[in-house]
């Protein structure tokens, strides 16, 4: 079966998305937006890992960074807002 799009093109697009999401994560003024950037970056990075042929690295990248670490950040956010009140 001939793939519709070249794998290399997909790879470059995914890596570009990682870079853009990372820029959002570091540059966004609003912490909520920065966190979205971080989650998107982890998701795209895990896709990049999968394309490179490392399924386990990709799965754990997703589970730990987009799942666990993001929850940790959200919890920090939640306590911070409470302190502000």
């Amino acid at each position: 079966m001939e793939p519709i799009i070249e794998p290399m093109v997909i790879h470059i697009l995914v890596v570009a998305a990682v870079i853009i999401a990372a820029l959002i994560a570091t540059e966004a003024k609003d912490i909520l937006r920065a966190l979205i950037g971080f989650i998107l970056m982890s998701v795209f990075l895990s896709i990049a890992f999968y394309i490179l042929g490392a399924p386990y690295v990709s799965v754990f990248q997703l589970a730990i960074y987009a799942g666990a670490i993001a929850v940790l950040f959200v919890t920090a956010l939640h306590t911070m807002r409470r302190a502000k009140r």
Partner: protein, 320 residues
């Protein structure tokens, strides 16, 4: 080939099927919940009210769609779409027609659970982007609850992974060809999974984030019209997904005695019947209990369910 895949993605067992089954499950859930309370439940629309969830959905789609003045508008508008997209993606992992789901790769068990966590984070965003204080309190409660039920959920899944020796859903299904996982030490994992699923779905006794008598509708308060319709549909798809996942991981999924040549019909039927059993349990739990307070729920989950899940993991490790 591509066309066939696209059709299965869109029709069966893809999005259209998922949406209609989800609405059907909402009907069953409401009907069971009503019967347990000596009511009749949905009755008017269609035979025994079977079309009621669909009618509710269409009604909400046609209602006025309000974005509050003080809301974080881009976030507020995109959250319902993202939530539904994530829930439908989760549904594609379910092995409805055979051993494999539409999306199937090594390690998809972890991805399937992580997507649920991301869905909870999306819900947190839904609450925080609304200007109402009820929404913010609901969102914070969602997060607090997520922190307490996620570890038991992950550990019960880890028990499955250890006893089947595979990190993929397909592997778990194949390993249950002769004996379902629930017949063994994994029964404790099943109980924990059901409890955690109830918390994930924000149903009684863990409906704290949308406690009606305290905080109106929690994080859902400010949503209306199309956005509310999508979020309600998300909850239904989530209900189908979690009952299907429990049926897949502990009750053998779509496998069962099969007449050769009729696999394409029997596999989905087995899958649906098994997930009905799980749905029945979930509805029963919902009608048996009353809502816990947030501190009661968190301390219950941390004091009893987390140690219990560690115990079941050790038990599985020793027995296997």
């Amino acid at each position: 080939m591509w066309l066939l895949y696209l059709l299965s993605l869109l029709l069966f067992p893809g999005f259209i099927f998922l949406i209609f089954v989800a609405l059907f499950y909402e009907w069953i859930d409401r009907k069971l919940y009503a019967r347990f309370q000596n009511r009749v439940g949905p009755w008017v629309t269609g035979p025994s009210g079977i079309l009621q969830p669909l009618a509710d959905f269409i009604k909400l789609l046609s209602k006025e769609d309000i974005t509050p003045e003080g809301a974080d508008k881009p976030l507020f508008r995109s959250v319902p779409v993202f939530a539904l997209a994530i829930a439908l993606t989760c549904g594609l992992f379910l092995p409805i027609t055979g051993v494999r789901g539409l999306i199937s790769f090594e390690g998809d068990l972890i991805v399937a659970i992580t997507l649920m966590t991301i869905l909870s984070i999306t819900i947190f965003y839904a609450g925080l982007s609304s200007p109402s204080r009820f929404s913010i309190v609901g969102a914070e409660r969602t997060m607090l609850q997520l922190l307490s039920y996620e570890i038991p959920l992950m550990l019960s899944i880890a028990g499955v992974a250890v006893s089947t020796g595979s990190l993929s859903i397909a592997g778990a299904v194949v390993a249950q060809k002769t004996r379902w996982l629930i017949m063994g030490p994994n029964i404790l994992g099943f109980v924990i999974f059901i409890l955690a699923a109830q918390a994930e779905l924000e149903r009684i006794p863990f409906d704290i984030p949308e406690a009606e008598t305290e905080i109106v509708a929690g994080w859902l308060t400010e949503f209306s019209g199309r956005k509310l319709a999508l979020l309600r549909l998300t909850e239904d798809v989530e209900l189908f997904y979690l009952s299907g996942l429990a049926a897949t991981l502990f009750l053998g999924g779509p496998l069962g005695p099969v007449i050769p040549g009729l696999e394409w019909l029997l596999h989905p039927i087995y899958f649906l019947v098994k997930s009905f059993i799980v749905l029945f349990l979930l509805s029963m739990l919902k009608s048996l209990f009353a809502r816990l307070r947030i501190d009661e729920a968190v301390s219950f989950l941390w004091k009893y369910v987390v140690p219990l899940s560690v115990l079941q993991f050790l038990l599985v490790r020793v027995v296997v």
